[in-house]
Structures are given as C-alpha cells and as structure tokens.
C-alpha cells in the first residue's frame, strides 16, 4: 500500500529525514518509535503533504500513485489520514460543519452522494459513541479549548468518520488517561481491517498493549535504524534509545532489507 524509498526532507536548510525506507502492506499495523526530535512528526507531515518540509530526494508510492505529487486534500480524499500530534484549534469554525464538509469532500471524490445534515448527524452520533466522545464537543469550534485528551479523541473520531485507507497517527496516545487510552485503542482496533493500514507514532509500550503492531521501527536522526516485531517495543521500554544512538552511524540494516533501495 505504501512504499517509502530513500526519503530525504529538510526544513529551513536543515536536513531532518535522511533516507527513510518503509514498506507498509494492507492489513498491517506499523509502530514507529524514536527519541524526541528524531523526525517522526516530520515523516508523518511529509506523508500528509505539508509543504513546509522540502523533499530533496526519494519517492513515495501509495496504492501505485506518486504520493509526493498529490495535493494534501487529494491525499486525504484518496484515503490518507494524519492524526496530528498537535491538533490545530480553529476558533470560529464549527466542528460539525467542518467535518461534514470533509466527509462530503471524500464522498464527492468517490462519486457518492453527499450526506445531508440529518444523515450526517446520525452517522456522527453512532461513531461518537464508539470513541465515547461527548456530543457537546462537536457543537464547539474545531478543537477550540479542547483539553489535550479531548483533542486526541476528536482526531480518532474524525478518523472513524473519514474512513481512511492509511491512517498515520502521530502520538495519538500522548496525554490520554488510562480509560481514554483504552477507548482510543478500541477505536483504532475497530478501524483495523485487511484493506487498511496504520502507522502508529508513539513513545510508549502502553498503546501497543492494546493495538498490537505487526512491525516496530526505531527512527533515529532521520533514519529507520532498526525494525522488528512487537517485542522490539518492549525491549525499547527497558533499554531506552542509548544503544541506538551508539549505532546510529551504521547503515539501517533492518530497514534496508525491507526495501529495494533507492
């Protein structure tokens, strides 16, 4: 579904992604872990089409298409979803109105009829229940004044409404209390399916207890330096990243064998 090859990206003259190779097949859940500032969010944002980051080399194919060539909104309607590490507050824009426009943008793209306000509300109510999100949040402007946890829950709710094919969740588990974490994990698990893929960016094993990943990657200094099974995450929890930093100069062997090179 997703093939990232030798991806390099920089911002303000500083190289942040320095050769990312990553292949995600339909049905898989990949976790990406790594120290602060290693480039996790940059990778997520580049995949979603943020143009603050300049892609200097490499390519990304998504369902056979050249993803980097697509506008952010086209990626979205083609099924790419980014759950933001820091969801943006938009005072003055009603959440329901926004989300209906987003859902209908996707439907229009697929040649489906737009949902009217009533059908949309019915769907929204059903999905809200799944992530135990209060309806009152939806009556407020987009993320405006939401607590950290509420924002993350709202991201998952948006995901379930937009029904993407590839969901990239950037630290959606950060800032959640135990109960909220379970609810969010449940939302993700419901969403999981053979046609879909998920990339989870996380710092903690916690989430991975509930959403068990197929592959875990370690990112360091703009490269995936190690990949393994779910036990790698547990290992990291015990040992931290110091060993990664020591071997950071070496080639990312584990990642390399999953890709065909640039």
């Amino acid at each position: 579904m997703l093939e990232v090859r030798n991806l390099h990206a920089r911002v303000e003259g500083k190289e942040i992604l320095r050769g990312i190779d990553l292949t995600v097949a339909a049905g898989e859940v990949h976790a990406i872990m790594g120290p602060n500032g290693s480039g996790k969010s940059t990778l997520a944002q580049v995949l979603a089409g943020r143009d603050t980051y300049e892609v200097t080399a490499g390519e990304v194919r998504y369902q056979g298409q050249d993803l980097l060539d697509m506008a952010p909104e086209l990626r979205a309607v083609e099924g790419v979803f980014l759950g933001f590490q820091y969801p943006v507050e938009i005072p003055g824009l009603n959440s329901l109105y926004f989300l209906r426009a987003a859902v209908n943008a996707g439907r229009a793209h697929r040649g489906e009829e737009e949902l009217d306000a009533m059908d949309f509300m019915a769907l929204a109510k059903e999905r809200m229940q799944a992530v135990e999100m209060g309806e009152d949040l939806l009556r407020r402007p987009v993320n405006a004044g939401f607590s950290g946890g509420e924002k993350k829950r709202a991201e998952i709710f948006q995901m379930t409404m937009l029904e993407p094919t590839l969901a990239i969740l950037d630290e959606t588990d950060s800032g959640l209390d135990i109960d909220a974490l379970k609810v969010v994990a449940q939302g993700i698990n419901l969403f999981r399916g053979p046609e879909r893929a998920i990339i989870l960016v996380t710092h903690y094993q916690r989430l991975l207890n509930y959403v068990v990943p197929d592959v875990v990657h370690v990112i360091h200094n703009g490269r995936l330096v190690k990949s393994g099974g779910k036990e790698l995450a547990r290992e990291l929890e015990d040992t931290g990243y110091s060993w990664v930093e020591e071997s950071a100069g070496e080639e990312p062997a584990a990642a390399a064998d999953r890709s065909q090179g640039a």
Partner: protein
C-alpha cells in the same frame, strides 16, 4: 471660491427644487433646519485629505462626479434594489422608495409610531421636533450638513415608555436602477426609544450594478433611561457606489445600545458611528465587520464618548481584505473628566488575504478621568498556515479551506446577528465580495 461655488451649483439647484416640493412638510421649523444646514455645507464644502479626519479617504471622486438628487417626491431617498432581502423573518418593514404597500406598518398607536419620517414630520409630534437634527451635529461635518439640507424622508420610530417591540423594524434602502446612475440620495432616520422601551432595528443599504451613485445617510438614535436597542446596520452597495453614513446615538441612564455594522460593496464606503454615553450606567457595544476586495475602499470610524460615570463600552471591529483593497479603522474613545469608573475596551482585528491590500488602523484614546479601565488592541494577520493545512489534510480543497477560515474569522462578529435568515444572507452575500 468660484470653483467651489460652481461645484455646489448642482446641490444648490436640487436644494431649491426639494424646498419647492416639500414646502409645508414639517412647517417652517423643518425648512429652517434645512436652510441652516445648506448654509453650513456651502461654507464647509467637501473635506480634502488635508483634513485630519479624511486623511486616508478622499472625496475627490465624489466631488468630481457632481451627482444630482432626483426631483421626484421622495427623491432624496430614491431607492429600490435590495441585496439583503432575506425571507423567513417576521418584521415591521419600511421600504424605500415608499411604495405605499406598507404605508402603515402597523405602527400607529398611542404609544408608538413606526413609519416614514415624512409622515412623522407632517404630524409634528413633540418627539420629532425635540430630536430631529439635534444630535447629528453638522456644524463641522459637510456630509451630515448635506444630508440635513436634503432632509425629506426615511424611517422614523418612536416608542413610548415601557413599550417592548417583539418584531424587528427593518428599514430597507435600496438603489433604484434608474437613479442608481448619477444620483445622490440622503436617507434620514430617527429613532426615539422612551424610558424602558426595547426594540431591534435593522437598516439595510444596498444596490447593484456598476453605476456611480451615492448614498449619504444619517441616523439619529435617542435612548432614554433604561431603553434598549439592538441595531444592525448592513451595507452592500453596487460596485460603483459611494456610501457615506453617520449613526449618532444619545444614551441616557442605564440604557443599552448594541450596534452591529457591516460594510461591504461599493467603490468607497465610509461609516461613522458615534455614541454619547450621557447617563450613568449606560452600556454600549459596537461590533463591526468590513469586507473589501478588488480596489474597494472602506473606512470605519467610531467615537464613544463617556460623559458620565459607571458606563461601559465594548468594541470589536474586524476586517477581511483581499485584492488591492484598502481599509481604514479609527476608533476614538473619549472619557470626560467626570466619567469616573468608566470601563472601555476596544479591539480591531484584520485578516489580510493579499499582500497588496492595506489597512490603516488607529485607536484614539482621550482619557481625562483618572479612575477608569480602558484598553485597546489591534491585530493584522494572514490566514494561519497550520489551520489551512489541517483543513486540507481532511480533504477540503484550498479554496474551500480558505473560505471556511474567513467565515470563521467573520463569524465572531456575524454570529451577533440574532435573526438567523438575515445572518445567513449577510454571511454568504458579503463574503462573496472577497472573490476567494
């Protein structure tokens, strides 16, 4: 001087014609008012940009256009082409030019009058003579002087003490196509709200097409003790039009005035809203939205004068500018020496959608009392990249994303329009002027 004289020739001729057709209307008293005002106008002439208050807004194009007032009954308010004609809300409607259909918008009674100013002047009830022309001072203001000189018709409302009006009064001034080219009209409105009375007033000024015409409107509002008024003043003139307007409010003790002014359309728009808080505990809220695109020029000027203690004023004006448009905001707050415990806040926020648009924003605080709370702030910014990307990442195309953000920005003001169909009409119509 001779140049000025010839420039004024058209106005003088039209003034004489008006006097001939309205003689008797309001009697000698009104005629005297008009004559004095015309004298002032001849003396003052149109202000140039050397005049401090007209530094950023030139009336040269208006002066050169030598516009004429139609010589028909009600010519000074000859109108009809309403871009604010939203359906679905119940109101007392006053439509100008007068079409007779609404000759009496169920506004006659012992304790109220809702109707034409011309009718009110004929009847000469005490509230007309006591207030008409007494608040909107024209001694140093050429345009108000001109409006007063051409005082012929417009809307009038009088509410007796304690009278609460459930339905809003809507005064719709709309340009008539045949007059919308080359004409200047001077609608005049008087609202007198007796002690403890309450009403909502909607004034709309609109026109379409690209013809050059001018609306030069004056509204006088008197709020007696404890009276309450919600006032929506909405402007969307035709593309070639000038809109000049003054709202002059006199507030007595514990009265509440809430104004929401929308200025859009036209080639040049200038609206001045002045409130005199002349009673303890008076409360004044001024909200405004100005929207300009292309080469439009829009100038909003407000003055809140705290003359008595314990009064409160709040002000929020927001602007959205695109293309090569230009906007001016000047917010004056005066706190007189005796107006202790004044609480005044002012804020002006601007959203610039293009690099070529310009805003001149100027707060002007004159505080003579020492125990007051006054603050003001101005912001000028662009659309937030973060917000734009967030919306696009959810599948909204760039144009729609921008539109939603602009609507969100304007919503802080427009959401104050409690009449839902009107709010929707304003939001969709006015923001389309931006061409995004």
């Amino acid at each position: 001087m001779s140049q000025a004289a010839s420039e004024h020739q058209g106005y003088l001729e039209d003034f004489e014609k008006l006097n001939a057709r309205v003689s008797g209307n309001g009697g000698g008293w009104a005629g005297e008012l008009r004559r004095r005002a015309m004298e002032r106008f001849r003396h003052l002439g149109f202000p140039s940009t050397r005049h401090e208050e007209w530094k950023y807004t030139s009336l040269e194009p208006l002066r050169k256009a030598c516009l004429r007032t139609p010589d028909v009954s009600g010519g000074a308010v000859a109108w009809r082409c309403d871009r604010f004609d939203s359906e679905g809300w119940d109101r007392h409607a006053l439509t100008f030019p007068w079409d007779g259909a609404n000759a009496s918008p169920d506004g006659d009674g012992d304790d109220l009058f809702i109707g034409r100013l011309a009718t009110a002047m004929e009847g000469r009830p005490p509230w007309v003579e006591a207030h008409l022309g007494r608040h909107a001072d024209y001694d140093d203001h050429a345009l108000r002087a001109l409006n007063t000189a051409f005082l012929e018709d417009g809307g009038a409302v009088w509410l007796g003490p304690g009278r609460v009006l459930e339905r809003p009064v809507h005064m719709a001034f709309a340009a008539v196509p045949e007059h919308a080219s080359g004409g200047i009209v001077h609608p005049r409105t008087l609202v007198v709200a007796g002690a403890g009375s309450r009403l909502t007033l909607v004034e709309t000024y609109s026109g379409s097409g690209e013809g050059v015409y001018c609306t030069n409107a004056v509204t006088e509002i008197v709020l007696e003790d404890d009276a309450e008024l919600d006032h929506y003043r909405l402007v969307r003139e035709g593309g070639g039009a000038f809109h000049l307007g003054t709202v002059q409010v006199h507030q007595a003790r514990n009265s509440r005035y809430r104004s929401l002014s929308v200025t859009s359309g036209g080639s040049m728009t200038r609206v001045e809203i002045n409130a005199l808080l002349d009673g303890e505990g008076a409360d004044c809220l001024l909200q405004g939205l100005y929207v300009a695109g292309g080469t439009q020029h829009v100038d909003n000027r407000t003055a809140i004068e705290h003359a008595r203690p314990h009064a409160t004023s709040r002000e929020l004006y927001k602007g959205v500018l695109s293309g090569r448009s230009r906007a001016v905001f000047n917010g004056k707050i005066v706190v007189r020496k005796e107006a202790q415990k004044t609480d005044a806040q002012q804020s002006n926020k601007n959203l610039m959608l293009s690099r070529d648009a310009e805003i001149d924003s100027k707060p002007q605080l004159e505080i003579l009392a020492d125990d007051v709370r006054c603050s003001h702030g101005t912001t000028i910014g662009q659309l937030e990249e973060d917000e734009l990307f967030y919306l696009r990442s959810r599948g909204l195309n760039e144009g729609l994303a921008k539109e939603l953000l602009v609507h969100g920005f304007a919503g802080e003001v427009l959401d104050g329009i409690a009449i839902e169909p009107l709010r929707e009409g304003v939001e969709n119509g006015v923001l389309s002027e931006l061409g995004i």
